[in-house]
């Protein structure tokens, strides 16, 4: 893949060019309008709201930085939700990669029924997350299927969602089950793109399995890994539906993540100002982490 820019052929800037430009705008319009209306507009609106006292009901006024000060210094819950989000990210992202890469490697050789495996592993990703979470809740509740299985091993009163550590474990497990399929597909496609000759040549040179994985597979897969890291980290920081449906953020606030918290502040406490402040902080955190990844990629991502 080449990233070098190709200079466009020079054209006479006449009626033809203008017509082409009009056509280009025409094609851009549907997604452009959607983007401005439903993505860019709300983002800007949310950042603006963060600088106002903006109760849903009542008087609104300019607040400068006071929403941020409140959230960062006086709010008893905010830092807990940051901690919960980080805990989720730190456990979920590496485990997701291990699972996705491991399974991608396993179905990579020409094993029989490879398409079926891919489809099966990808299924949880394309089923609605709320439905998945509800089914998981049924599975892990007392008297559910998992409780039955735990009973065989002598575990009484199996009730993971009733304790903080248990609830977070279930949220992570369910997210892994739901999320690894997408990365597995990315890795699987990346693996297919690695030329067979590289492996043959290294085998002739006497490289073992591990060596080939470390010196060929990983470097050749690094663009896929980079892409997957960026996307997975972003979605992990934005985790919402799993705790919302599975645990309701509880017990206590053990599984209340940042996005859940901003939802609660906005739509249960009706305080859009501080909710937007939380959203803006999260936005900055995600943007910074993504920027760091883009800077860091030069050191480890190989585009052929």
């Amino acid at each position: 893949m080449s990233t070098r820019a190709v200079s466009p052929p020079t054209r006479s800037r006449g009626r033809g060019a203008r017509r082409e430009a009009a056509a280009a705008y025409g094609f851009l319009a549907p997604s452009g309008i959607g983007f401005v209306l439903f993505t860019l507009g709300p983002i800007i609106g949310s950042v603006v709201l963060a600088f106002f006292h903006w109760p849903v009901i009542g008087d609104r006024s300019f607040a400068a930085f006071s929403n941020f000060v409140t959230i960062l210094t006086a709010d008893p819950m905010f830092w807990r939700t940051v901690g919960n989000t980080l805990l989720f990210v730190i456990l979920y992202v590496p485990l997701n990669f291990l699972l996705a890469l491991g399974l991608a490697l396993w179905i990579s050789p020409r094993i029989r029924g490879r398409g079926i495996y891919r489809l099966l592993f990808f299924l949880p990703t394309v089923t609605p997350i709320v439905a998945n979470a509800l089914v998981w809740r049924l599975l892990v509740q007392p008297k559910g299927v998992f409780a039955e299985i735990a009973g065989w091993f002598g575990v009484e009163n199996f009730n993971p969602l009733g304790s903080e550590a248990g609830a977070m474990t279930v949220v992570i497990a369910m997210s892994l089950w739901q999320g690894f399929g997408y990365n597995m597909l990315v890795f699987s496609a990346g693996l297919d793109g690695i030329p067979e000759q590289l492996y043959e040549a290294s085998a002739l040179d006497g490289a073992g399995t591990w060596r080939r994985f470390w010196n060929i597979t990983l470097p050749m897969l690094s663009p896929s890994i980079f892409f997957a890291t960026v996307m997975t980290l972003i979605t992990a920081f934005q985790v919402f539906a799993q705790p919302y449906v599975l645990t309701g953020g509880g017990p206590g606030i053990g599984t209340t993540t940042m996005v859940m918290y901003l939802y609660q502040r906005g739509f249960q406490l009706f305080d859009l100002g501080t909710a937007s402040a939380v959203a803006s902080i999260l936005f900055v955190v995600i943007a910074l982490i993504t920027a760091v990844q883009f800077v860091g990629q030069k050191k480890w991502v190989h585009y052929e």
């Binding site: 401005v36 008893p76 009730n159 969602l161 903080e164 309701g248 953020g249 206590g252 739509f267």
Partner: protein, 417 residues
């Protein structure tokens, strides 16, 4: 590359944004040919509820030929989110469904129904059960007119009581009777009682055990008072003794009721609004009783719902008349006969017991008489949410009652404004 090429399309997009948002804030109330059309927003989560609302709309339009209602509904939890979203855009409906404990939270959205407004619409508050009317007042001013009344009561499984050889609860039974029955009924993997980790259930216990609520009469949160601690410790004790099951996920809001319906728990505390559902669902005979009496007799928190007029409504006089019809005699009789609501209007209450709910007659009368308005705070939703989340930890024994109440008290006090 000139900037000009981009300026025009940008303006076009901004214009489109304006048009769309402009359309969105165009609410549905209006007047033409002497007929006023009012928007009416209410929660409804089932076909039965939608039917009941359609019947109400018909009654309003029959009684007021100059008024037409445009009904919009949402399921109960979404209703509040939708109301918040609409209010932030100034597009809330003219007539709003109001749940008593949330009255304070949305008071700024509501037109205060003072004497003049009530008289103008022909509403006499003396017709309504005082315990629920008071729950919809703020500083003595009526904010909404109630249509139903819900004292908390105990639902019990008659068959499980008979099997275990335990006397069925009778009105006037005591907390000791309740605890003894719950212990005796906890056999064969079943439980005597399924606890609901929510503030109104806890308030039922604190009221009956010590006469206190978690909120002061002035609307201040007061969770850490000794009465609430005693109530939570009582509920913790039931779980610890094995008389009640551990609590599952906090998002599972109907767990206690569903345990009862499934026959896994012999008793549950809930409101009369669940009578129709329980009656439809359970294959066994069930009964209801008052909350068991503590040292000072049985006391129960009374809640309920009603209708209010939004402060932004352009036709407050018409809207108040519509509310008068919505809570009027015909509407209340219809709801009572459909079994949708235990009427807030005293004169229409007997109609409720003519159907399948005869079993609840004595209990509801008794409970209504000993009832006390369930108090709430401005940030009731937040208190409720956090209370529910931490109560799961507390009732499962991971937190002491005092720690639990202190945590919810402090997190909601400083988190809110």
């Amino acid at each position: 590359m000139s900037m000009k090429r981009y300026v025009l399309p940008c303006f076009a997009l901004v214009g489109a944004v304006g048009v769309v948002t402009g359309c969105a804030s165009d609410a549905g109330s209006g007047q033409s040919d002497g007929v006023t059309t009012l928007t009416f927003s209410m929660w409804a989560g089932s076909d039965a509820e939608n039917e009941a609302l359609a019947a109400l709309v018909e009654i309003v339009e029959d009684e007021n030929p100059d008024i037409r209602l445009t009904l919009e509904t949402a399921p109960f939890n979404d209703y509040w989110t939708k109301l918040a979203a609409q209010a932030s855009g100034g597009a809330e409906a003219c007539i709003l469904g109001v749940q008593a404990p949330r009255t304070r939270g949305i008071q700024q959205l509501l037109l205060p129904l003072d004497e003049q407004v009530l008289d103008g619409a022909g509403i006499d508050m003396a017709d309504f059960d005082p315990s629920i009317s008071e729950a919809m007042q703020i500083d003595g001013v009526q904010m909404a007119v109630p249509y139903d009344l819900g004292p908390l009561i105990v639902f019990y499984n008659e068959e499980l009581f008979a099997e275990a050889g335990v006397d069925a609860p009778s009105d006037g039974w005591t907390v000791e009777d309740f605890a003894a029955a719950a212990a005796a009924l906890s056999v064969d993997g079943r439980y005597g009682y399924a606890a609901n980790p929510i503030l109104d259930s806890a308030t039922a216990w604190s009221l009956t055990l010590s006469g206190t609520q978690g909120v002061t009469a002035g609307g201040e949160l007061d969770l850490t008072n000794p009465g609430m601690v005693e109530a939570i410790e009582f509920m913790q004790g039931m779980v610890a003794d094995g008389s009640a099951p551990e609590l599952p996920a906090t998002s599972d809001t109907y767990n206690a009721l569903n345990s009862f319906v499934a026959g896994d728990a012999a008793m549950v505390i809930d409101g009369p609004w669940q009578l129709a559902y329980v009656g439809e669902q359970v294959p066994f005979d069930f009964g209801v009783a008052t909350i068991p009496a503590g040292a000072d007799g049985s006391r129960t928190p009374v809640s309920g719902s009603g209708y209010g007029v939004s402060a932004s409504c352009e036709y407050p006089e018409e809207a108040a008349r519509a509310v008068a019809s919505l809570t009027g005699s015909a509407a209340q009789t219809t709801l009572a006969e459909m079994g949708r609501a235990y009427p807030a209007r005293i004169a229409e209450q007997p109609a409720y017991f003519e159907g399948d709910f005869g079993i609840a007659e004595d209990t509801l009368r008794e409970a209504g008489a000993s009832g006390e308005p369930f108090r709430s705070t401005t940030n009731f939703t937040q208190v409720n949410t956090l209370f529910n989340q931490y109560a799961v930890s507390a009732l499962n024994g991971d937190m002491t009652a005092a720690d639990f109440l202190e945590t919810v008290q402090s997190q909601t006090a400083s988190g809110a404004k």
